[in-house]
């Protein structure tokens, strides 16, 4: 295993700084990724959040990063999507006009149904129920709160890809995907870099992870 070097993708939008600050405070080396050449030598790759699905995909396309991200994932090195970054791991998304995502985990990103939830966006601290064990969840308890802000949610095709669920709105079918995980690819719908101690613990676990389950 090479030295840990965490790459954080700059999509020319969104809150890159908070993720870098959090990774930095945890003591990991990091690097901003703006082009394919920046991906060389990374041990981990993070796609951060905040923004519009379609706009973000257009940025990734303009930066010619979509295929390099997929290639990085194929090498079994750990990939993490945060908030919008998690949604971009999907195959398709509706925000800004339906179109393709980075396509690493089968599923579709759609807007909350206003009839089923009290407010859109889903904003604030909410409990995440963990569905199974995972190396990145070490020392993080099921049922603790993380900070969410999103109007769209990731509907995974295979329920096994949902590593964490969040209940919103009450009644039937009120569980939404809070964490996606398949092999070396992981996504948090909430913001670990904004979720104080438990969030930082998850980020630290991710940065220590070798991508194996």
């Amino acid at each position: 295993m090479t030295d840990t070097l965490i790459g954080v993708i700059d999509m020319d939008m969104g809150n890159l700084r908070s993720v870098l600050n959090a990774v930095h405070s945890l003591g990991f080396d990091h690097k901003v990724v703006r082009a394919e050449a920046d991906i060389d030598g990374l041990s981990h790759l993070i796609l951060p959040g905040v923004g519009n699905y379609r706009t973000a995909m257009q940025h990734l396309e303009a930066q010619k990063l979509i295929e390099p991200i997929r290639a990085f994932a194929r090498t079994k090195r750990p990939v993490l999507g945060i908030c919008l970054g998690m949604q971009l791991l999907s195959f398709t998304g509706d925000e800004g006009g339906t179109g393709a995502g980075v396509s690493l985990i089968e599923g579709h990103v759609e807007r909350f149904d206003p009839m089923r939830v009290p407010t859109i966006p889903h904003v604030g601290w909410n409990e995440v129920r963990l569905t199974r064990k995972h190396p990145v969840l070490t020392k993080v308890k099921s049922g603790v709160d993380f900070y969410f802000v999103h109007s769209y949610h990731f509907r995974v095709d295979d329920p096994k890809d949902a590593l964490g669920l969040v209940e919103y709105g009450g009644g039937e079918h009120s569980d939404y995907v809070a964490i996606v995980a398949r092999d070396n690819v992981l996504g948090f719908q909430f913001h670990p870099e904004k979720s104080q101690n438990n969030g930082l613990k998850l980020l630290e676990n991710f940065c220590d992870w070798d991508g194996a389950c």
Binding site: N15, S18, N52, T55, W125, V149
Partner: protein, 256 residues
């Protein structure tokens, strides 16, 4: 279940000092923003709000140096406003570490600023802040811009509805009458805003003097979040104690 939020509000001057106001006036120095943010982080506040209230410097320059330093020590959501005049200002703040931007006066002049920010960064990134006061003459709440100095010719209900339609992710309602008085939140004002905001979350500010005031506002208005300044600035109060008290009244806060 989504948790209720408690949000300390920090008011800034161009000098970089924190102040506390009384009915939007009579500034009192209450310290250094980075130090106090670090303390609020340790006290598990749910978010932090920073507002530039300097009447001479209505630009985001006041906020940027602070944001840089606070985002290095606070790993929780940060919302900033006061002097945002364009979507470009919002973008600069978000790039420097803001999670949400707070727009107020510009919404009256250029309502499209809300949709512009929402289109680029999502609805959740834009909070529309509204300064309101009770008007005895018209027996209604009136809204104002420019730190409460200019009364705007639009009803509170219409302004909230317009903000929601433009894509505001949250509404932040300030009671000018209660600001700094520590006499309790303006329940009627909050109820009117919550009703007009529909599915959009509301943060209410102005008047908290005791934890009982917070309980009353949460229980009686259905508001999603309460912001307070004086309560935490003056006296031995903090978000941990507030939540310990409020949890005994059936209100849920984050588990850490």
């Amino acid at each position: 279940m989504l948790k209720k939020r408690i949000i300390p509000v920090q008011l800034l001057l161009a000098s970089g000092r924190l102040v506390k106001t009384l009915r939007f006036d009579s500034w009192r120095d209450v310290g250094d923003p980075v130090a106090s943010s670090r303390v609020y982080n340790a006290q598990l506040a749910d978010e932090l709000v920073f507002l530039n209230i300097d009447r001479e410097r209505r630009t985001i320059d006041v906020l940027l140096p602070l944001l840089e330093r606070v985002s290095e020590v606070c790993f929780m959501p940060l919302a900033l406003g006061g002097g945002i005049r364009s979507a470009r200002d919002a973008e600069v703040l978000i790039r420097h570490g803001a999670d949400k931007v707070i727009v107020n006066s510009e919404v009256y002049r250029t309502p499209e600023i809300v949709s512009e920010i929402a289109r680029t960064f999502g609805n959740q990134a834009v909070i529309v802040s509204i300064d309101a006061r009770w008007d005895e003459a018209s027996l209604s709440y009136v809204v104002s811009s420019n730190c409460g100095r200019t009364t705007e010719p639009i009803s509170l209900r219409k302004h909230v509805a317009r903000a929601v339609e433009l894509g505001a992710g949250e509404i932040f309602i300030n009671s000018i009458d209660r600001d700094g008085t520590m006499t309790g939140y303006d329940g009627a004002l909050i109820r009117e805003v919550v009703a007009a905001a529909g599915t959009v979350p509301v943060i209410a500010c102005g008047g908290a003097g005791t934890y009982e005031h917070m309980r009353d506002a949460f229980v009686e208005t259905g508001v999603n979040a309460l912001a307070c300044g004086s309560l935490f600035n003056f006296g031995d109060n903090n978000p941990i104690r507030a939540k310990a008290f409020l949890s005994n009244h059936g209100l849920s806060f984050k588990v850490v």
